[in-house]
Amino acid sequence: MRRVVITGAGTINPLGTDVPSTFAAMREGRCGIGPLDISDVDRLSIQIGGQIRDYDEAAYFNRQQIALYDRFTQFTLLAARQAIGQSGLTFTGVLADRSGVILGTSGGGLNTQDENYRAVYQAGKNRVHPFIIPKLMNNAAASHVSIEWNLRGPSFTVATACASSNHAMGQAFNMVRSGMATAMVTGGSEAMLCFGGIKAWEGLRVMSRDACRPFSATRNGMVQGEGAGVFVFEEYEHARARGADILCEVAGFAMSSDASDIVTPSKQGAARAMAGAIADAQIAKERVGYINAHGTGTAANDKTECAAVADVFGAHADSLMISSTKSMHGHLIGGTGAVELLACIMALRDGVIAPTIGFEEPDPECALDVVPNVARDAQIEVALSNAFAFGGMNAVLALKKH
């Protein structure tokens, strides 16, 4: 089988509008969560989120593009420009035909839906803009990336709630590994911070009103965020032959399904996905130095995830580091795995482990080294990135230092 490496990374998220600024924020343990600035926020009981501040779509896109690009598509295109730009690839001829786009999102064009439901239901309008459907569809972002960059190979969108991005990147990885594609643009995006997007989450009663504090005994729920992360996954020999700068290797991937409860996480399902990714990468579990946790800050996720890590790693669980960067950027739902993959790249490439900020008090049910509050310098060889979705669908990537 072929080896797969990452040769480009891009992002826009509550911590920064590109990868260097995001790394800087993660190193400093900066919090990108704050008061929401959206319509009707006064009617929400949850009024905080990881929102991308001072975002001006007109600074990046023209009027015709804005008519077609929902906020989640805009974020994707901005991140893809950075990633493909960094990779140095130009998609023409055979390479274009053998390269595609696989992206994750959960809500797709939710802002477009929200705005237009307002128009027809609340404002009583009987007409909507002609491009609402192509703007709100979940595959819009993947399509626009393929159009902008002439990516003519396998392209589609994955929607598995909070695991969407990891499932998407897993498919991209296996396509390059199997030889089906030479390069894949992959990752995910979410823009759910609108009245309807938050009101729906409020209903579940799992949201925090003040902060996301993963693994802390004082945690009281998750906080939503928005943004995108996009990467170029490339066949190793192809990258080497052209002298590309390799950020890290994608070494393994596994998925599992809890087949139990629609919202309550399962230790076994999470453990099978982590163990599967390690086995797929054909590495000894003792080589894993860092796990970017799913770490939502809910009571249920964090204790279940820690128990699963203990089961998979045994005694080694006490010597690895695990952190949740959701404490800084919030939960980007379908885009979260993509932004969190950045923390793994930073750990492998720069030797800096992103912290779990907001940590106040240890929880005996989360008794692991969660890198509380302050980033840490550490040389690691292998990192895992966890994503465990509602619906019991789990996806874990294993990355290796190059």
């Binding site: 799992v206 945690r219 009281n220």
Partner: protein
């Protein structure tokens, strides 16, 4: 008109798929087979029917003074909220 107790019991009974006569004040939600999702749905139904807001976070069910340890404590908590919210 139904009393608050009758209303709360009717909501819990519906959630548990039981007859209201099978729901006793001393029952816990677990006794009635109501899990955490069922609890969140019951609280939603209580809020909608009684037009109140219940301070409940599933991450920390014991916070917010809304005691869910039995049917009786839920009834009492709802009555307290009704009084506090002037209803």
């Amino acid at each position: 008109m139904m009393t608050t107790q009758e209303q709360v019991i009717a909501i819990i009974a519906e959630q548990a798929m039981l007859d209201t006569s099978d729901v006793q004040l001393h029952h816990t939600l677990a006794d009635l087979g109501i899990d955490s999702l069922g609890l969140v749905e019951s609280i939603f139904a209580i809020e909608e029917q009684l037009d109140i807001t219940v301070p409940f976070n599933a991450n920390d069910p014991s916070a917010g003074d809304f005691d869910i340890s039995s049917v009786a404590t839920i009834v009492a908590a709802v009555e307290q909220i009704l009084a506090a919210q002037g209803k």
